[in-house]
Every structure is written in structure tokens, then in C-alpha cells.
Symmetry: C2
Subunit: 247 residues, 2 copies
DNA sequence: CGCCTAGTTGAACTTGGTCAATCGGAGTGG
DNA sequence: CCACTCCGATTGACCAAGTTCAACTAGGCG
């Protein structure tokens, strides 16, 4: 690992290099990307639908999510992002973004200029594939969510979502003893799974009653991962993780 | 348009160049891609979940769709593809595909070797962005489907899906007088929108009764596009079409 | 202490699912 | 040409998961 392993880009490099072996030079180039580190406020969209951004957002600490609204104002959360993710990398090639991106407070992100990214992969062509791949994995997660939200009952949907978060947070080293920090509201979980917040509350209680999870404040402790996977019909293939756990 | 405008790749070139102005040389390179043209049989998957393909599939005539199954065997259709689409372009960078790809009979596709695609965009770097962009647009459609299937009632879901198909088929010149050919079963429409086939039948009848559409065999005739868009809360931004209609 | 947000609970209600039977049209073999 | 078969479309009756509305509780913070 390069010398500056505590630079803002650490999670990103860790994540990208875990699935595509990079040379030290390429890793260093990623670390050296100019980045504007910004701690975000509550209720402040990072990107708004209709924007034409000239930069991308890298999650450094905490979570972000992308969402869309129907004309009637119902919110669907389309994806959650963990440290190391670049939620709006697609804006590099799609002029107008059609989604909104918001942080889950507290959250710190790094803004990277599109032109710096383009310079990066023109100089290191293999990094094109790495970044492209990053967008493809997010598309793969979208597909799994379509299956999850379209074909599974509410209980299974939540179980599946929790399995996914456990795996993705493990991959960047943010899980200990099957426990992770998840500072989202029940209403956000509901909008991610396409159920009402009242029902989300009941489903959470059911998962607790069945001994699959335990929550303390915003900590989620998975008590029985095997049962949780089974309940959600979870198969991690779609996450395209190589080994699954960061060192 | 290059001389061989009736080559198998015509729809693809038409589609890709409509959103990213290409030089004649780049268009010609796309036309010249080696391709194995295959008319498909009924009930024959093109790609199966778990495969590690060394080629991509370009839709030439008809439709294809990707789907996933839950462990209980329920099918969710994740995307529909029209001529010019490359449904499994992601396999270029994701080793194991996690989805299955199937044709809607009758259907003809062209298989393009991954190495030929790589050679193409190494020689014409701007085409990297074009292909990357293609995968990003599909991801954008996935997001809209998540919103559609998660937040809208069945009637609106179907209206939205029909609007999308009308726009995408228009973009490749396959719509005349607001009429297009859609050789899918009601059961497939149901699995795409996450409702039961019985209910899909009723929703279709409702759309017909309300005078929004008319069907004759597998032809769909949109009678009132404005009302259909309104019913589905349809906003075409996510399709990232430049002008929307092919010449 | 009071406010505000998120979480929790109960009860009535609705959308859409399930089951089961029937219809209809296209292809097939006699 | 006709009977047979098969698959998809259609219909009706009943059922259940999840929504909606409304009230109430609990925790964090100025």
C-alpha cells in the first residue's frame, strides 16, 4: 500500500484495487487525485436532478443515497453508497443527471473534477476499465434491487438489503463482529425498499423478534447471518467482490 | 451515413451516433465490426447467470430481455432491449454475469467478440466513451424502473413502460403513427412491472377502456400519448436521447 | 422544560395476489 | 378439413399483504 495510506482517497483505492490488481504507480495516481474535501450539512443535496455537474463526488465518511421523486412527490431511494463509492460517476459521460444525490448526516465527501479524472485515465488507460467497472457494479446493484423490490415480500427485502450492506461495508473494513453503523431513518429504509415507513417499522420488529438482528441506536448487529441471507434469498455474486473482506 | 447503411450494425450506429457525433471513420469502424449474425430459437437463453462470456450480443431484429430469478423461481424482468441495444455490454468488464438474457421470439442478434470491441476502442479512443455511455444509459433506465416499480400503482407502471418503449423504438425508427410491434406476453409485461399476470390483464383492459391504447395482435397503438405520459408520470430525461427521433 | 423528529401502535381499508375455471386462436396430426 | 392440443388471455370469487390515518411515545437538544 502506498505511503499515504491515510489520504482521503484511501477507501476508494482499497475498494478499486481489491477487484482489479493495480500497480503501485496506478494506486499512487489515484491517491494523488486532487480532491476538495467537504463535510456536509444536514438536508443538503449534493447533486440535484437536472444539474450538469463538472465534478464527481467520492464518499469519504458516512453514507450517501441517490433518489428520484414521482410527480406526486413520492421518493424512491435507488442506491446507498458507502465510503469508497463514487455515487455520480455517470455524470462523467451523461451531461444531465436525472437523479438527486443526498448525504446521510454526518457525512464527508471529496469532490473530484471531471477533467482530473479524464486526465487520470488518459495517462493510465487501465484505470479507464477500473472506473467503467465501478459504474457497472452499481448498475448490477440496481438490477438486484429491481429483483428484490419487485419479487420479494417486505420481510425478505429488508433482510436482503441488510445482507448487502454488511457485505459492502465489510469490503471496506467497516464491519466488526457482524456489527455496523447505519445512521438511516426507518423512513429512508422504507423508501429504499418501496414499502411504507409504518410497515418498515413492523418488519424491523419482526426481524428482531426472530433473532436475526439487534439494534442499538444506529448500530445494527447481525445475530444470525445465515438465517438473514436465507430470509433475503441473498447471493453476493452481483456485488462482484473478489474476496469480500478488506484487510 | 456510410455506404453500407444496411449492414447488420446499422441500428447500433444510428443509435450511438444520434447521441454522440461520430466521424465517418468512427462510424465505418463500427459498421466493420466482425459480427456473427444469429437468428434465435424460441425459449433459448442467450446468456445464462453464471456464464463468463467472451462476446457481447447486439440486438438486430426484435427484442431481448434480461431477467433474474429468486430462489423460489419468481422471475423479474430487469430490462427490455430494442434493435441497436447491446444488452450484455457489461460482460466486457465484469467477468461473471449475474443475469440471464433471453430473446422474445422472433429475434436476430449479432455476436461481437470482446477482443474485437477492445481493439476497436483502443484504436478509436472516443468510442470508449460512446460504449461506456451506452452502459450508463442502461443503468439510468434501471433507476427509472426502480422508481416506477417501487412508487407507482400498477396502472401508472404500465403506462410508463409503454411510454418508454414508444420513445426508445422511435429513436431507432421503429414507430409509425404511434404504433409499434410488441411481441411480448402479458406475463412478461407483468414480470417487468412486478405485478401478477392476472392483474396485468386487468390493467391492460383499463388502459384500453380509457382510450389510451389499442391493441391488435401484437401491435400496440397509442391513441393518446399525452394522457399516457400523464398516467405514467413519464419524463424522458432519463433516456438521455438527444432529439428523440431517428431519421 | 419544551420542542421536534423519529419511532411505535391500532384499526379500517385497498390494492393487488391467488386460485380455479373458461375461452380462444394457432399449430399439428389424422 | 376437422379434431386435438397447448398456450396465452380472460373472468370471477376470495384472500392477504401492505397502506393509510391517526394517535401516542420516546429520545435528543436548545
Amino acid at each position: 500500500m502506498p505511503a499515504n495510506s491515510s489520504s482521503p482517497g484511501t477507501f476508494m483505492v482499497r475498494k478499486l484495487s481489491s477487484i482489479f490488481s493495480l500497480s503501485d504507480e496506478e494506486k499512487q495516481a489515484l491517491h494523488d487525485l486532487p480532491m476538495q474535501v467537504v463535510p456536509l450539512e444536514r438536508d443538503q443535496d449534493i447533486v440535484r436532478a437536472g444539474d450538469q455537474p463538472s465534478q464527481c463526488c467520492l464518499v469519504l465518511e458516512g453514507f450517501t443515497y441517490v433518489y428520484k421523486l414521482t410527480l406526486e412527490g413520492q421518493r424512491q431511494i435507488l442506491a446507498l453508497h458507502v465510503p469508497g463509492d463514487i455515487p455520480d460517476l455517470q455524470s462523467l459521460h451523461l451531461k444531465v443527471v436525472d437523479i438527486s444525490l443526498a448525504p446521510i448526516f454526518p457525512c464527508t465527501v471529496g469532490f473530484i473534477q471531471h477533467e482530473d479524472l479524464r486526465r487520470l485515465y488518459e495517462r493510465y488507460p487501465r484505470l479507464t476499465a477500473v472506473l467503467w467497472r465501478e459504474t457497472l457494479v452499481h448498475a448490477s446493484i440496481h438490477r438486484e434491487w429491481l429483483l428484490n423490490n419487485g419479487q420479494r415480500a417486505a420481510y425478505a427485502r429488508l433482510a436482503h438489503l441488510l445482507c448487502e450492506l454488511l457485505m459492502r461495508l465489510s469490503a471496506v473494513g467497516l464491519v466488526e463482529n457482524d456489527t455496523f453503523h447505519l445512521p438511516v431513518t426507518q423512513s429512508e429504509l422504507a423508501d429504499a425498499t418501496g414499502i411504507s415507513s409504518v410497515h418498515m417499522n413492523r418488519v424491523l420488529q419482526a426481524l428482531r423478534a426472530d433473532g436475526l438482528i439487534e439494534t442499538q441506536g444506529k448500530q445494527v448487529h447481525v445475530l444470525d447471518l445465515e438465517k438473514l441471507k436465507q430470509a433475503g434469498g441473498f447471493d453476493p455474486l452481483y456485488l462482484q467482490l473478489e474476496d469480500g473482506v478488506a484487510t
